[in-house]
Structure formats: C-alpha cells, structure tokens
Amino acid sequence: MDKILRIDMGAPGGPKVKVDGLGSYAGLGGRALTSMIVATEVDPMANPLGAENKLVIAPGLLSGTAAAMSGRISIGCKSPLTGGIKEANAGGQPAQVLARLGYAAIVLEGNAPEGKLYKVYINKEGVKIEPADDYKMLPNYDLIDKIKASYGDKVACISIGPAGEMKLSAASIACTDMEFRPTRHAGRGGVGAVMGAKGVKVIILDDSGLQNREPKDPEKFREANKKWVDGLRSHSVTGTALPTYGTNVLSNIINESGGFPTRNFKEGKFEGVSAISGETFADIETKRGGNPTHGCHRGCVIRCSGIYVDKNGNYLTKQPEYETVWAHGANCGIDDPDTIAMLDYLDDNYGLDTIDMGAAIGVAMEAGIIPFGDKEGAINLIKEVGKGSYLGRIIGSGAAVTAKVFGVERAPVVKGQAMPAYDPRAIQGIGVTYATSTMGADHTAGYCIATNILKVGGFVDPLKPEGQVELSRNLQIATAAVDSTGMCLFIAFAILDQPETFQALIDMINAFYGLNLDADGVADLGKKVLKAERDFNKKAGFTAAHDRLPKYFYTEKLPPHNVVFQVTDEELDSVFNF
C-alpha cells in the first residue's frame, strides 16, 4: 500500500492513469487519507459535481492484512449534499482487495465528457479503463450480474446505480459483499453523484495471485490479533448481541428510551415497533431459511449482518440495518418487515442512501404526497427515483430538497443531511454530534448513544444537556482515528469498555508498521483529521450558524418525555476547542 492511483477522467483523448508515491500522505489510511487529500487538493469553493472535485477511495491502515475487522473502506470528496467535506464508510470486500493490490487510495479526478461512461479494471498487472455504454442506467444488481458473466465472482466491485448516474445528491456507492452482491454502501452525502460526475460506473478489483499484506513484525502482529479477536468475542455486545440480532436490536431500546423518531420526528415512540424489531427480523430470517448472523466482509468476527429472504425463502436483501429499518419503518409509520426489506433492496439497487431516502419519504408523507403508513406508496416513491421521473429526482435528492420543494418546515437535517434514527431531543448527546460534525447530521461521527443509552463507556443522562459536549467531542476524536484504521466502528463497544482490547489494536498497528504509537498518538491522529475537515468546511463557507439543529428541535416538545434540545449555542461552539 505504498502508491496512489490517480485517474484523470477528463484528460484530452480519454482517461489517463498515473501512479504516484505516497509523499506527504505516508502513514495515513481510510478517512485520514481521504480527508487529507480532499483538504489539500480540492478547492473548498469547488462545485461538488464539477471537474475540480475529486473522489478518493481509500482502504484503512490495516485493510488487506490478517487483522480481524479491517475491511472497511472510506470514500471522500466534497459533498453535493452538504457542500462540505465528506467521508462515507462501507464494508464489503473492496477494502481488502484494493489494499492487497497495493493501493493506499484511488483518486478520480476531472470529469468525463457529458454522456461518457467508463469501467475501471484493476489487477496486479495494472489498470484498464474501457467505455461502459452497455452498463448505462443499470441498477446495481443487474450490473453485478453482467460483471459476473465477464469477470467471474472472485472480483470485488465499487459501483453506482441510476441515482449516481443522474447525479442525485442522496446517491450512494455500492460495494460488493462476500456473495458478490452490491449490498454494502458508502451511503451518505451523495458520494455516488460525484462518481457519476466523474463518469465511472464501476471499479472492478481483482486480487488473484496476490496474498495478504505482510506485517513488519509478524510474531507480534499475530499475538496482538489474537488478543484483539479474543477481546471482541468476550465483550457481550460484540460477542453476543450484534451477532444474534444485528444492529436492529436497537429498535426496541431506542423506542423504550422515547427517542425513536416516529412519523417525521413528531413522536419518540412507535406503536408498531415490535413488528419491526431486531428480535422479529432475526426470527423471520431463521424461520424462512435466511440467516441472522453473517459478516459483510471476510475477516469480520462480529458478523452483525444477515440474509433476509421473502415468504418463499428466496433472497430479497441483506438484513436491513437499524438505521434503514427506522428510516423506512417508524419514520414513515410503516410496521411491515417485508416492505422495509423491499425498500432496502430498492435503495441498494438504484444506489441510494437509506437514511436520506427514509427521511425524504417521511417529509413527503408530511406534505401529503402519500399518507403515513402507506407501504405501497413508499415503494412506488423509491421506484420513481429509479425511473428518474421529476418526482423521483426530488426524492432522490434527499430530505432537505424534498422539504423545500413541498414546503415542509419540519426538515430533520443538519448541513443538508438527514438525521439518523435517534431524536436529539430525547438523546441530547447525539444532538451535539448531529449539530457539530463536519459531515452533517451523522450518528457514526460521534456515537453518543453508546454512553447516553447503552451504558457503554460510562453513562451520561440522555435527557439533560450536562456532559454532552465533552462526550461528543471525545467520541468524534476517537471515531476519526478508528475510521482511519479500516476497522469497523462497532469495535468501539469493546474498546470503550476493555482497555486491553484497545491496546491490542494499537499493538497491531505498531507491529504492522514498525511504529511506537500510543493512545495519545491515536487521539492526535483523530484531532488532526477533524481539524483538516473543519478547516475545509470553514473555507467552503460554514460558520457557527451551521453547527445548529433546525429551529423546531429547540421549540417543539417531543413526546413522551416532552423535551426540547437544550445544549446552548455557546456549548456547541466549544466542541472543537482542543
């Protein structure tokens, strides 16, 4: 992983490939690398869909090694959804394969001429770029079928669906999983639209003939990896709860806490929760012959995902994540697992962020386009996006645009990006993260739910403003560092509670690279990443006024606790005092 592959999609005479050394980016991976490249090389005032923007795809520092959980990939650019810097993170196979191919990053630069579409094939011999006109407007599943026919199913793919080709601002980038299905998405911020603007339909990664990356100190690395895996297996969240029920185990608990946003963030409890809970999904998957315990990439030992099959036992989609179940479920007043699974499949197929889609449909329901709870109506709205109708393009541009077009005041967005599955009035820590994250409303950027609700890493009362800024600050710093390792963020549950497991992670990085990093060094990396991202956003025009929740979260009380968001502006402005 000592080179950067740059492809100028707008070069005269067709795409031009250049392989660079790491230069000043040495020692960076994942989000640290995508954010540093974007912050250094992209004009903050660039149009996100213009030729000046760059799309950076980077595996983590430990991707492509034997380290468990190391297969997450970071995709960065200036976001067409937020107008700020973006890192969207995904699982699937591409991170491991790209790292084994030796690339620390792929950087797509320039824009292909309007109407041109390409595929990029990378193997150990080099890079081949060819026109992909026969892939035009193919949904992700159809695309992957075609690729299977030509390249087999041992490759890994990074692709966009029609939403990305139409450059819609909620378009995602799909990564194929272990079964070579396009189910793992870098969902947030419209990264798919940027890939569409570049004119790249799919990147096909082939690591045949290549081995795992070798550590500098194999003995120490193996030892640390063993402690790492033991730590993850013995923690009750990463060892039992996530494998058994997946992320959707949260539906019941967030609902009980009164912070489960229901019908476009009007209430904090959903009467239909039991029908869409993780317990119910796991039950359905087991009974119908699906699978409730499945990894999104080889080397994952937590295996929070699963396989969802329809009533006849046929594959429908991967086990929908908690965020998806909430977005298309409670937020739309829908309590039917099969409908939610179908919406998950359609989002993946057209290449859309499930969070912004659920939020956009919630807004459309509030506008009266379809009523809350309308299952067929919700499916049809997503199909409209696939068709590219005017209505579909509005929905596919996310909740903020949908609210503007239909005159809905209650748009649950920060910096243009839809809030995920936790109401910031009943869970105030996550409100601090939504308001201040460089990414727009994003739960993963500083997952205060851990400490506000799940009692991991201590406890801070979710209903009170006290202590939330410090909590969010520390988690945002730690997350920026973890996102740079290639590790799945769910390791946080174990490392927040078990210092020896955190140490094992640091030992692995040190043994691999021959470094002497300590916990402070890890925090310093997180701070450096956040500072670069903040700086980019500032130059792109963001001020303190953008680090706020929409006004109604301060004034409209959320039942059942009848609370509003109480963290003051001054406190929000102190999150990045470090």
Binding site: T240, N248, F490
Partner: protein, 74 residues
C-alpha cells in the same frame, strides 16, 4: 402492587416478552431481577417508564419496567 414488565433480546429466552406482574410494595429493581432469575450482569440497561433506572430504583404501582441485556448497534 401491579407492574408491567418487558424483556428484550436474549432475556426473553425461557421467560416472556411482556407480562403484568404482582409484586410486594417497596420492591426495588434488584428484587424484580432476582425474582425473574436474571443474572445481574445480564440486566445491563433498565428503563422505568422510559427513564434510565438501576438496581436500587424503587418501583411503584403501574410502573412499566423494561430490561435489556448488553446491546449495541448503530
């Protein structure tokens, strides 16, 4: 006193999802957990009427108690 008790995830195995229970007055959460034969380390998150409680929280008539094992997601 009458209570409504809700169990989740693995705590449901061999027990129940939701049940109306009759308990002596002055009961604490810990008494309820012992009665249900739930290991203390398995009762990681406790809500009483949607507010976080702990083993020492005192229960009262018509309370709704929800008990979760250690869980996470995101």
């Amino acid at each position: 006193m009458k209570l409504r008790v809700k169990l989740f995830a693995t705590l449901r195995n061999g027990r129940f999802d939701i049940k109306e229970m009759e308990l002596p007055d002055e009961c604490k959460v810990l008494d309820l957990i012992k009665l249900l034969k739930i290991d203390q380390k398995d009762a990681a998150i406790i809500f009483i009427n949607g507010i976080h409680g702990d083993f020492d929280s005192l229960l009262k008539e018509n309370d709704e108690v929800s008990i979760f094992p250690p869980v996470g997601g995101g």
